[in-house]
Assembly symmetry: C2
Homo-oligomer: 318 residues x 2
């Protein structure tokens, strides 16, 4: 009846995991973006205040790949009260030769979760101190779990601390994530948690900063990945001024919906020109961290090329 | 494995046709848009010059409907040489309560063709002279065929003339569309074709105007529906100055990618403010045509609410 492949969530979960292969796939995607030739239009974003929901659509065309993904990501924030996750969605893969639909990946947001966490792994691999052993995670949701897992793929993390607005959730996550090779504790003091870590990942829906510049210390790397809408922010704008190096996944996006937005509004950065992107650090077009004592920040908003990359990987795999 | 409904093109073609029911569905959609409460963000558009392709994504949230559509429309213009239609795509329907995927309509663009033609029917129903018997169609593609069919649903069309850049295609279409109740001929002279008709529909991919203002005469209605990208135009800008009434499907879109764009650039309209939309004419918020001798123009670029409307109709029907 149709030669369109339909893959459901259980099949995708069985074959695709957050592992070093996926980190490599996402790293290659960012490198490709930096090398040029990629088409990646602005995100389509629709807000539905009547139902406390939103939907984002992302896409990117990558020359040489047989297909490109159009990813539909809804976020409906009354869902948890109904026993459902806030986010879901799917990816549609279209042929780069004909535009015909090749596949529909009914992942309910699973591939987005994985490719988002993998970007955190890529950022840490290229920006965190190579001997980073201590991590702080701000947030206690699914990405808190996945971001810590991604860090462990690229750095010798031995200890981690979780801070969250809800201390009970931080404690539960810490207990759940501890294992023989990793000691995880919760902290009620975000300054203490920040000061403890070599790598900090913020992964919250915060609309007011949760990480202060005065808490940062030499040699740290921060990945801020919670902010993906114009109304969100996790880092005090002064963090960006304090950092020796700021790297965006895509400057045109972080300027509108990442941590860069608040920093530009606060005037702590002169302008947003000539800021490096993660892909440029990967390819070597930008030197990245040049000293173990530098403070680095990666500002991740999520890009369509990550979706095209993971969808293409999945279709080659399954 | 999943409660997501997957409907394929043959099933959709068997149940959904261009008939007065669909014209009513699309009319209701435009009226709803005019009454307010609808969310309809700017179109996501990605151009892929490397493969002579583009993809558009449209969506709209309509309060009260159980779902909203996200419609993915690729156009790959080297396809005809491969024996494939240029356009294809699908619609995804998400729950307005939870954002979860409810259905995937694998229509290969069929529902887009139908809802696009139906909008032509709605425009003619509200703007063309009630006794319009003669139609001119500029273009000889699938929409030329469908637009004439839509006109016949709302006006007593008895004679039609087809003009197309390729006279052989115009002649073939004219022969094919003639029946006992309708005389259809081809014309090699666009001025003659325009002058003949009570209703003119332009449905071409033209990038330079194909309809001149001097060809228009009192009492005519023109629906221009070919232009849906910033590089396209079918009407000489002076047509909009000559018309007594200009109506957009959505002014924010026609300003960027419809006939309004060229008219504003040419300076023939003072500005684009306070121009009526089709939904306002339907609801009576704007009087529409007030005299049989007026010249009216409908500028249709295609809107996400048409997609949500037809997708919702389909899911209630099948």
């Amino acid at each position: 009846m149709s030669d369109i492949r339909i893959l459901h969530e259980p099949e995708l979960r069985a074959h695709v995991h957050l592992d070093i292969t996926i980190v490599d796939v996402i790293e290659t995607a960012f490198a490709t973006l930096a090398r040029g030739g990629v088409q990646m239009p602005p995100i389509l974003s629709m807000h539905m205040p009547q139902v406390n929901g939103e939907v984002d659509v992302k896409t990117a065309y990558v020359p040489g790949l047989p297909g490109f993904a159009v990813k539909i990501s809804p976020g409906f924030f009354d869902n948890p009260a109904k026993g459902l996750p806030s986010t879901s969605g799917l990816m549609v893969v279209l042929s780069t030769e004909t535009g015909r639909v090749q596949a529909v990946l009914l992942d309910n947001g699973y591939l987005t979760d994985i490719r988002t966490a993998a970007a955190g792994g890529v950022a840490a691999r290229h920006l965190a101190p190579t001997d980073a052993r201590r991590a702080a995670i701000f947030g206690a949701g699914l990405q808190a779990r996945l971001q810590l897992q991604a860090l462990r793929l690229v750095r010798p993390i031995r200890k981690a601390v979780i801070w969250a607005r809800d201390p009970a959730k931080a404690q539960a996550l810490a207990a759940d994530l501890s294992d023989d090779a990793l000691n995880v504790r919760a902290s009620a003091d975000p300054a203490e948690a920040a000061g403890f870590a070599d790598v900090i990942v913020t992964t919250t829906p915060a609309t007011e900063p949760i990480l202060r510049a005065e808490w940062l210390r030499a040699g740290q790397h921060v990945t801020a990945m919670g902010s993906d809408q114009a109304g969100k922010a996790e880092l005090e704008p002064a963090c960006l001024a304090r950092a020796d190096l700021y790297v965006a996944d895509r400057v045109s996006q972080t300027r509108l919906m990442g941590e860069l937005r608040g920093a530009l509004e606060a005037g702590v950065l002169a302008d947003g020109a000539n800021l490096p992107e993660l892909g440029q650090v990967i390819t070597g077009a930008h030197p990245g961290r040049t000293d173990p004592e530098q403070i680095t920040i990666a500002d991740l908003t999520g890009t369509g090329i990550q979706d095209t990359a993971i969808a293409s990987h999945v279709l080659a795999l399954i």
